[in-house]
């Protein structure tokens, strides 16, 4: 993470001028707001932050921030983000995307990013649907949700991203609701400050394909329990949670990934000696 400097940045300094393609009312507008508020809170220089995403409605977010951005390919945001962070350890790296991008096609990188524990923050705007491709079930979709691709529902129990994150070794695990901009901003700021990989699931409604998610704002509630650093306890808790608990639900202290590029200017002449016979 880069240093906090004197000059006071405003939230608007972290926003670009590009108008989002999102539908009016989409939860992702709030997420964008929360990210800029979190960055304001931390007073990070915009040019020292990299926001990296996959493909999907939510993955459009990098260009709406005033950071360096990379809108990569579907499912690969975390891999690109890992490369950025290892190559440039002094940058603040935020990976972002959707539930389809992160948990379906990107599932393997999610597992391994949690395990590798590179210092970055991963924000998933979970709307329990593939928004960009016009409404197919994602891994977090309810089994009975009807759609053209899965008439009558998938019949599959939804994927539990927080439990998976915990099982794969993530050390900062949180859930927030996009409508709670302040609360989300606070959690994101915490996540950025946490050394190692931080995972923030943001329930972010898709007004177009999941109008039923309007009731989310009534369903979410702050987690009743205090934060834990015991993975076994966290596992038990997360496995029985209702999916609407918000807050930082687990915070561990495993060492962050420790290899990265540096400034050493070694000598090629020295290196080539190994070939001499």
């Amino acid at each position: 993470m880069n240093e906090i400097i004197q000059k006071k940045f405003k939230a608007s300094d972290y926003k670009s001028k590009l108008k989002p393609v999102w539908c009016p009312g989409c939860g992702d507008y709030h997420v964008l707001l929360s990210i800029t508020q979190a960055l304001t809170k931390l007073q990070l220089k915009p040019e020292n932050t990299a926001v990296i995403s996959g493909i999907g409605c939510s993955s459009r977010i990098p260009a709406y921030t005033n950071s360096y951005g990379f809108h990569t390919i579907h499912g690969r945001g975390l891999a690109v983000a890992t490369g950025v962070k290892v190559a440039r350890p002094e940058l603040t790296v935020i990976a972002a995307g959707g539930d389809g991008d992160g948990f379906s096609i990107g599932g393997n990188h999610f597992l391994h990013a949690c395990r590798r524990n590179t210092d970055m923050t991963y924000i998933v705007m979970d709307n329990e649907v593939y928004g960009m491709t016009k409404g197919q079930p994602s891994p977090t979709t309810d089994p009975s949700w009807d759609s053209a691709l899965s008439p009558g529902g998938t019949g599959l129990s939804p994927f539990h991203p927080l439990v998976i994150a915990l099982a794969s070794g993530a050390n900062f695990i949180a859930r927030t609701f996009s409508g709670d901009v302040k609360g989300t901003a606070k959690v994101i700021a915490d996540a950025i400050e946490h050394p190692g990989f931080s995972f923030v699931q943001i329930l972010s409604p898709c007004v177009t394909f999941r109008p039923d998610q309007k009731i989310w704002k009534e369903q979410v509630h702050e987690a009743m329990v205090s934060e834990t650093d015991d993975p076994a306890r966290a596992a038990r808790r997360l496995m029985s949670d209702d999916g609407f608990n918000t807050g930082v639900l687990y915070r561990g202290s495993r060492e962050a990934y420790r290899f990265s590029c540096g400034d050493e200017k070694g000598d090629m002449e020295e290196i080539q000696k190994q070939f001499e016979v």
Binding site: S16, L18, V21, K45, P46, E47, N48, A50, I52, R60, P62, A63, N66, S67, Y68, G69, F70, H71, T72, I73, G75, R76, A79, V80, A81, T82, G83, V84, K85, V86, A87, R88, E90, L91, N108, H109, L111, H112, F259, S260, C261, G262, D263, E264, K265, G266, D267, M268, E270, I271, Q272, F275, E276, V277
Partner: protein, 578 residues
């Protein structure tokens, strides 16, 4: 042994199964040969067993640089013949060849005796047993060394170096077993010997995979993302401990989708980046490579080819990832494809490719193959070429900065994260010069033009191909990759017989360079295209992109057998006859 005087070399195969240790013998012989002022090349062939199956060390030694395998082996010696029929096809013999066998180990596979090679029986096992702690592989080391005219002294030195840490007894046992081998060679007439030169100048012992890693490092690569795959793993394994010495690092990725995308991320961050793989891994990387092309993020992919398709023949060589490397991206996605032409050239070509990728902000795929990649070669220390990653960077962007500005040469200055005011979003979506998503016809066309132009109009200098031979030559052989040196040797032999012939070994497979090509092939009446592919991928690439002058003939076949000079000589001769 070859036809021309100038090429005197000796080719030896040492065969044995289980833990017979023929690779150790081969490695020791190669090192000893270096000490004796020789050049050499060693490849290995192994059976399907993960460990301990049949294996052979295949060496060629000479007083002159050695770059390819010979038509036949002069000497084949076996500790045993178990499973040897499974690779006998890869050890061609001639009537002049010599097979040395221990009668106690059973019958020689028919496919070998069919060659008419002279057979000499030596009680290898007994000789080994006669020395306390003696092993058969050391006996054959001495036997072969003696036959080809290598002194015992350099061998003893190597034994001390390699076995020293195992204690004096081990060194002594090996030396005595080697001596027993020397003695046993006494009565045998050798088909060929090599003259150790007095020129004991410095030599390097290097494999193509190490050479690629070294070239990459020299070109400026500072980040590598890795997923192991045969036969590319050694590129990664060489780089892993060496990168940190120059401030770089290697990340082991969960799969090839991750490795290519990590490399792209690191490069976006400003570090020249690379990954290495082989066919199946390259398949998985193609979507990522397309992202590098579209987002104009430099990245280098070293692809060490193996037999295909699918999992194919992972441990053997073939030149069949040319198609995917050149054409395997969806959409119109101009990028660079290069190929090394020898073990040694893996250094140059990889280093140059790093330079190209960085200079043009695009993806460069470097093709090597199992034969080059895993061959150990004794070479002269290579010249230190100057190609070094040098990206066009904008370090003081102002308000008007456009990441994807449409420039005359197609290359747009790039800002690196951390540069104030240079913020932009790299994108694989089509975009306008600022980098914002656009579906406008004009933006799409302009960006397509630019991405194409920067690659098509770049000045590749003379490096697009190794061209050798007279301008006036009417006979041209076009080839690429590791087949180059077989062609080169074939041409030397043909020259020796008064047939003159031009070599054009293409290092740049994509984009096409029609001007250079036309000029080089001007006046050609007959063009032979040589490659190790069943379908003729190289031939088709040439036909698609160039106007081929004169009569064109294709000489091609699949692996695993490496293309040999004699095949090419014969093809040319038979063609002449018609």
């Amino acid at each position: 042994m070859t036809d021309g005087d100038q090429n005197t070399s000796v080719s030896v195969a040492m065969v044995g199964s289980g833990g017979a240790g023929v690779m150790t013998s081969g490695n020791m012989m190669l090192e000893a040969a270096t000490k004796a002022g020789l050049y050499g090349l060693m490849t290995r062939t192994v059976g399907p067993q993960i460990r301990g199956g049949e294996a052979a060390a295949l060496l060629r030694l000479s007083g002159k640089p050695v770059h390819c395998v010979d038509d036949t082996f002069d000497i084949l010696v076996a500790v045993d013949w178990k499973g040897a029929e499974r690779f006998a096809g890869e050890v061609p013999l001639g009537a002049d060849s010599l097979i040395i066998t221990d009668p106690a180990t059973g019958d020689i596979p028919e496919i070998l005796t069919d060659s008419g090679a002279r057979i000499v029986e030596v009680p290898i096992g007994e000789l080994a047993a006669s020395v306390e702690g003696g092993r058969a592989n050391m006996v054959i080391l001495g036997l072969v060394a003696s036959l080809i005219g290598l002194d015992e002294e350099p061998i003893n030195k190597i034994i001390a170096k390699k076995l020293g840490k195992k204690g004096d007894a081990a060194v002594k046992a090996s030396r005595e077993a080697v001596s027993a081998g020397y003695d046993a060679a006494g009565g045998i007439t050798s088909p060929v010997t090599v003259s150790p030169s007095d020129d004991k100048k410095d030599r390097w012992l290097i494999s193509g995979n190490q050479a690629a890693g070294f070239g990459a490092l020299r070109g400026g690569i500072r980040f590598v993302a890795a997923y192991p795959i045969t036969p590319a793993t050694e590129v990664l394994e060489w780089m892993s401990p060496n990168l940190p010495k120059v401030g770089g690092t290697l990340v082991q990725a969960e799969d090839e989708l991750a490795s290519i995308n990590m490399a792209i991320g690191a490069s976006f961050g400003g570090r020249p980046s690379l990954t290495a793989t082989s066919g199946p891994g390259l398949s998985l990387m193609m979507e990522g490579i397309g992202l590098a092309v579209s987002s104009e993020t430099p990245v280098v992919i070293v692809n060490v080819m193996r037999g295909g398709p699918s999992t194919g023949v992972p441990t053997k060589s073939e030149q069949t990832d040319l198609n995917i490397a050149v054409y395997g991206l969806h959409g119109d996605a101009p990028h660079i494809v290069t190929a090394a032409t020898s073990v040694e050239d893996c250094i140059f070509t990889t280093q140059w490719s790093v330079y190209l990728a960085e200079a043009m902000q695009t993806a460069a795929i470097v093709l090597s193959d199992q034969f080059m990649g895993q061959a150990s070669s004794i070479i002269d220390p290579p010249a230190n070429i100057s190609f070094m990653a040098q990206r066009l960077v904008e370090s003081e962007p102002d308000e008007s900065y456009l990441r994807y500005a449409v420039t005359a040469d197609g290359v747009s200055p790039m800002t690196l994260p951390g540069t104030p005011g240079g913020q932009y979003t790299a994108d694989g979506l089509e975009h306008n010069p600022k980098g914002l998503p656009s579906t406008l016809m004009e933006d799409h066309r302009d960006q397509m033009d630019k991405r194409d132009r920067k690659v098509a109009e770049f000045n590749y200098g003379d490096h697009w191909a190794d061209v050798e031979g007279d301008d006036g030559c009417e006979l041209v052989i076009l080839t690429w990759g590791s087949t180059t040196n077989a062609v080169r040797e074939a041409i030397e032999r043909l020259n020796g017989e008064g047939v003159s012939c031009k070599l054009v070994a293409m290092r740049l497979l994509s984009p096409a360079v029609p001007e250079q090509f036309d000029q080089t092939l001007m006046g050609a009446k007959r063009v032979l295209v040589v490659e190790q592919s069943h379908s003729g991928q190289f031939l088709k690439l040439l036909r698609a992109n160039y106007n081929m002058p004169g009569e064109v003939k294709s000489y091609r076949r699949p692996g695993p057998l490496i293309v040999r000079p004699g095949e090419i000589v014969d093809t040319i001769k038979n063609w002449s006859v018609q």
